[in-house]
């Protein structure tokens, strides 16, 4: 199989120096550090296509807004060539490529495959033509071998429906206006730029946490009035209280949140306060009945401990400022939020990466939360996509009907892009055709001719 490809490469190298190469002008020379970059999973722009997915499908994704519209004609042609090569490889020894992984990077103009010996094969396009390299290391581990499905920019363990896929594409499309509101309730909103913070490996925005708290607050208000209550404060509460505002009394600004997020102290039992500390989210859970305040942190670090304690005390002091008179009527004249026992919740599941603290923080608001579930297996992409769909599709989202309509109108071609892969017979024909390249033509022209 590799011989086959190398044969093609020789053909191309022979042709390329003499002929002006139409497809690869203006393309940067790719870096040669591809193996190490893959191992470290560097480069967020990779699109992963797993073994159970059809290989052709990934390239059909060119029509999706994440690759297609930004490509110029030359790049499109290049993809077509790569696709032909890939198909040729694929149908040659389909059985010998059980764990074939393929990654495609827009910027680097290269294609990475795994061959039967678990080595990486990289097909690069340079100014001189096509290069095919094989990595020296064997058994390079790319990512998990579980079957994954693509849904927009996410790779997920279970497939989504067409409607959901369209919605995801619509929510995260970077071609559409960033300031478009995609989720709205009476008091909060999420713009597309905030929604895009749910993209894989991105840092989750305070707006997402605020909206989740908002949903929780609304659900709490719909509950039976006699049941125990929780307050879910928005992420802006701590930002406003802890921020340097220049006011004589910084807590006075916090009073603006009181009407909306702090109803009826008499029935309140717990207060959840998401706090932002040095590019990290954590949750302060205040239990009024037990008079404790616990820090719930999904990434415990000693260096930030002192700052977190100071922040937590400031939050407690702000609650004293807002609620002390009311609270003393209920709990007696010695009641004081600042006298609460400050602690740290132990045994929390820890985030397995360095970008999911926001997700863990908002999940701590759930009851029963993931804290109680020790068997919880964190799957970042899947968790994020479910959260995005939950926020968008919830009946609490005032504009969800318009959103769904826009999504299904704007992405009618989605189903065509996800069509089944070409049958093997057709691929082998393409391979044969690709082999009989007319040497008088440039390789791209010849390949394109066979394709089109």
């Amino acid at each position: 199989m590799l011989k086959e490809l190398l044969h093609q490469r020789q053909i191309m190298d022979r042709v390329a120096p003499h002929v002006h190469h139409p497809t690869t002008d203006n393309i940067k020379t790719p870096s040669h550090e591809f193996v190490s970059a893959q191992e470290n999973n560097v480069g967020a722009e990779f699109i992963e296509i797993s073994s159970n997915e059809s290989s052709a499908r990934g390239y059909d994704k060119i029509n999706s807004p994440y690759d297609g519209s930004s490509l110029n004609t030359k790049e499109r042609q290049l993809y077509q060539i790569l696709r032909t090569l890939e198909m040729a490889m694929d149908c040659e020894k389909t059985d010998a490529l059980p764990s074939k992984k393929m990654e495609m990077s827009k910027g680097k103009q290269e294609l990475i495959l795994k061959d039967s010996k678990e080595r990486l094969v990289m097909i690069q396009s340079t100014a001189k033509g096509m290069h095919i390299q094989t990595s020296k290391k064997k058994n390079v581990n790319l990512k998990s071998t579980q079957p994954r499905f693509l849904a927009g920019p996410f790779s997920v363990p279970t497939p989504f429906t067409e409607d959901e896929k369209k919605l995801i594409l619509y929510l995260f499309d970077d071609k559409l206006a960033e300031m478009d509101v995609v989720v709205r309730t009476e008091y909060s909103s999420i713009t597309r730029s905030s929604m895009r913070s749910l993209l894989p490996r991105a840092w989750i925005d305070g707006d997402i946490i605020t909206m989740y708290a908002e949903y929780k607050t609304i659900e709490e208000a719909q509950k039976d009035i006699t049941s125990p209550r929780c307050w879910f404060l928005p992420s802006y509460y701590s930002q406003v209280v802890l921020g340097d505002s220049g006011d004589l009394n910084p807590y006075r600004r916090a009073s603006r949140f009181q009407e909306r997020y702090m109803p009826q102290l008499e029935t309140c039992e717990k207060i959840y306060v998401p706090i932002h500390c040095e590019a990290h989210w954590y949750m302060l859970v205040i239990d009024i009945l037990r008079q404790t305040a616990d820090i719930w942190d999904s990434l415990e670090s000693l260096s930030q401990r002192e700052k977190m304690i100071n922040q937590s005390l400031t939050i407690l002091a702000s609650l004293d400022f807002l609620l002390l008179r009311e609270a003393r009527l209920r709990f007696g004249s010695n009641f004081n939020f600042l006298h609460f026992q400050l602690g740290r919740q132990t045994g929390l599941p820890q985030q397995p990466n360095d970008f999911d603290c926001g997700y863990y923080t908002l999940k701590y608001m759930d009851n029963p939360s993931i804290v109680a579930d020790q068997s919880y297996q964190h799957d970042s992409d899947y968790a994020r996509i479910l959260l995005a769909l939950y926020l968008a599709q919830s009946p609490l989202n005032d504009i969800r009907h318009k959103l769904m309509q826009d999504a299904s109108n704007g992405y009618g071609k989605c189903s065509a892009a996800d069509s089944q892969r070409a049958p093997c017979k057709q691929a082998s024909e393409l391979r044969k055709a690709a082999r009989n390249i007319n040497l008088n033509q440039t390789p791209s022209e010849a390949l394109l001719k066979t394709l089109l």
Partner: protein
């Protein structure tokens, strides 16, 4: 900052203050029937920031920027808080 021309009566204007995290509030005199977005863009320009950099809050809540001060129910002297988009690992 909008200056009121002589021919428009004063009740068409509202005084607003935008407070950021930088201890340097800006005071605005603004038309009651203009979209508040105009004011927020001006604020961002004065702070050398791009519009969309700050989340703005009125009474602790985000608000639609295409509304006017009247539609938002703002009163003279009300303040708008400019916080920051906090991401975290």
């Amino acid at each position: 900052m909008e200056k009121s021309p002589d021919n428009i009566p004063d009740q068409h204007f509202i005084n607003l203050v935008v407070k950021g995290q930088d201890n340097d509030p800006l005071y605005f005199e603004f038309r009651r029937d203009w979209e508040i977005k105009k004011l927020l863009i001006t604020y961002c320009e004065k702070k050398d920031a791009q519009y969309g950099t700050f989340p703005f809050l009125i009474n602790g809540n985000r608000f639609p920027h295409i509304r006017t001060p009247d539609q938002l129910g703002l009163k003279d002297g009300d303040e708008i808080i400019a916080t920051f988009y906090a991401g975290g690992a």
